[in-house]
């Protein structure tokens, strides 16, 4: 009995490597640059904050943020080419389970992952999130570049269109961020992006198909109690 109990104890404290160090760095660079962009952009968006924009320092910070943000795909490419490829491929490929999952997303939203169709490394929601980030980042980057380099030459129509694209993209990305934070909180998923590991049971509950495909040894860490 004692040995069995020991095994059980071990099983409960098994952790699995969700994100290796490369993608984690990239994630946090993206997060920080996005927040920098969000706050420095917000000062010219929300009138009661506008005095922080005076003098143009916020514009300088916004541009620094923009350069970091735009360089992330390149950095990702160097840091972990495979992970980037996988991320992009996954984000735009949905199987039957994914579709079913999406149909029942409100249940997932309310914290019920158990009854959802089984998901792979990324659940359909995460895939959509990533796809949204990719698409709207492209929009926000292009419109941002137009606003930056067309400054003083583009005229009212181009300004209006670029600004609208920029703002709508910002809206979408911000709402995606809000959702991202929400799910991170609800599914206590932060550790995947800090230590890189998540609890085995979390992995089994939310990403059973992924866990199955995982190799038996390498990504697992068994913590002694």
């Amino acid at each position: 009995m004692t040995t069995q109990t020991q095994t059980m104890e071990h099983a409960h404290h098994r952790k699995v490597l969700r994100y290796s160090v490369g993608p984690r760095i990239v994630h946090w660079m993206m997060a920080l640059s996005f927040l920098l962009l969000l706050f420095t952009g917000m000062v010219i968006f929300l009138p009661f904050l506008s005095h922080y924009a005076s003098g143009g320092n916020s514009r300088l910070l916004h541009r620094i943020g923009a350069v970091i943000y735009m360089s992330i795909p390149v950095i990702y490419l160097f840091v972990d080419r495979k992970a980037l490829k996988e991320l992009l491929w996954d984000s735009f490929h949905y199987d039957r389970d994914d579709m079913k999952w999406l149909a029942h997303v409100y249940r997932y939203f309310m914290g019920h992952a158990a009854e959802m169709p089984p998901q792979g490394r990324l659940n359909a929601g995460q895939k959509l999130h990533h796809a949204g980030v990719v698409i709207f980042s492209a929009f926000i980057v292009i419109s941002g570049l137009i606003l930056w380099f067309g400054k003083g030459y583009m005229g009212p129509i181009n300004l209006g269109i670029a600004a609208i694209f920029h703002d709508v993209s910002m809206l979408v990305l911000t709402v995606l961020l809000v959702g991202h934070l929400y799910f991170t909180f609800v599914y206590k998923a932060l550790s995947g992006m800090t230590s890189g590991y998540i609890e085995e049971e979390d992995a089994l509950l939310e990403h059973p198909k992924w866990v199955e495909e995982l190799p038996a040894e390498e990504p697992w860490v068994v913590e002694e109690a």
């Binding site: 059980m8 916020s58 181009n158 709402v175």
Partner: protein, 268 residues
């Protein structure tokens, strides 16, 4: 509150640039900055030539695109004129692009344009350009008086120029620079309709508030639901762990042989 306005009589203006120099000196503008640009534009072939004096400056639109797009409130309307508080400017240059007249310029990093001599007028003076104009092509008064004066000027001008008209009575919600012109606006390189572009208005009046509202809404909704959803999840996680534990116990009791069975089952 009374609205004020300028009168610019392009019939009378003979391009002497006195206004430009008065503006530059009175406002202590840097040598390479001017708020008024005088030029001439000619059409036709010798000797049937028409030449017009262009007097380009801020037209002080009521529906001012620059004010519309200014994110910091550095550009604002006051007394019917478009003011600029350069200290509040962020230098984003949206005004430069939005203005249908191409008036604001970025000087030394920040927007620069005629502010209707706000400081001078508040000290009881007359805008420098108006004060010095030897041709009486400029006036400054209440908008009402300026409009009346413009009508008189127009009557006089029609004798020579049948196409003469007043520009700015209604354009862009009414301009703070009422222009009496001997010809069509396009002859003076001015837009027939200087109303801010639809996208400019849609951006600040529609897209921005809707975006702000939706973002706010998403935060409120997720914030409220987060607690409930997390509780739900924690409960299901507890159940899942229990199941998992039971299954492990069951597996352990079943012994090594059962593992194969499980594997077989899954293959099916």
């Amino acid at each position: 509150m009374t609205d004020y306005a300028f009168l610019l009589d392009l019939g009378r203006c003979i391009g002497c640039e006195a206004c430009v120099a008065a503006c530059k000196t009175g406002n202590e503008l840097p040598t390479d900055l001017q708020f008024i640009q005088i030029s001439e534009k000619s059409t036709g072939t010798f000797p049937d030539v028409t030449s017009l004096v262009l007097n380009h400056r801020c037209f002080h639109c009521t529906n001012a695109a620059c004010v519309e797009v200014c994110p910091t409130g550095a550009l604002y309307k006051e007394d019917g004129l478009t003011r600029l508080n350069r200290e509040a400017c962020s230098g984003c240059s949206y005004c430069v692009d939005a203005c249908p007249f191409g008036v604001p310029q970025i000087y030394d990093g920040f927007s620069s344009k005629c502010d209707g001599c706000a400081e001078v007028v508040k000290a009881g003076g007359t805008p420098w350009c108006v004060k010095t104009c030897p041709n009486h092509a400029l006036m400054y008064d209440t908008r009402e008086n300026i409009l009346a004066a413009a009508q008189n000027r127009l009557e006089a001008l029609k004798g020579r120029y049948p196409d003469a008209r007043i520009y700015g009575e209604t354009e862009a919600g009414g301009l703070g620079m009422i222009v009496v012109m001997p010809d069509k606006p396009e002859a003076f390189d001015l837009p027939e309709n200087p109303e801010p572009a639809f996208v400019i208005k849609a951006w600040q009046d529609l897209v921005q508030p809707v975006s702000a509202a939706l973002t706010g809404l998403s935060i409120v909704v997720t914030g409220a639901l987060a607690i409930i959803a997390r509780r739900n999840h924690m409960q299901e996680l507890a159940r899942f762990e229990e199941d998992l534990a039971q299954r492990e116990v069951a597996e352990a009791t079943a012994g090594d042989s059962s593992q194969e069975t499980t594997a077989e089952k899954e293959e099916v």
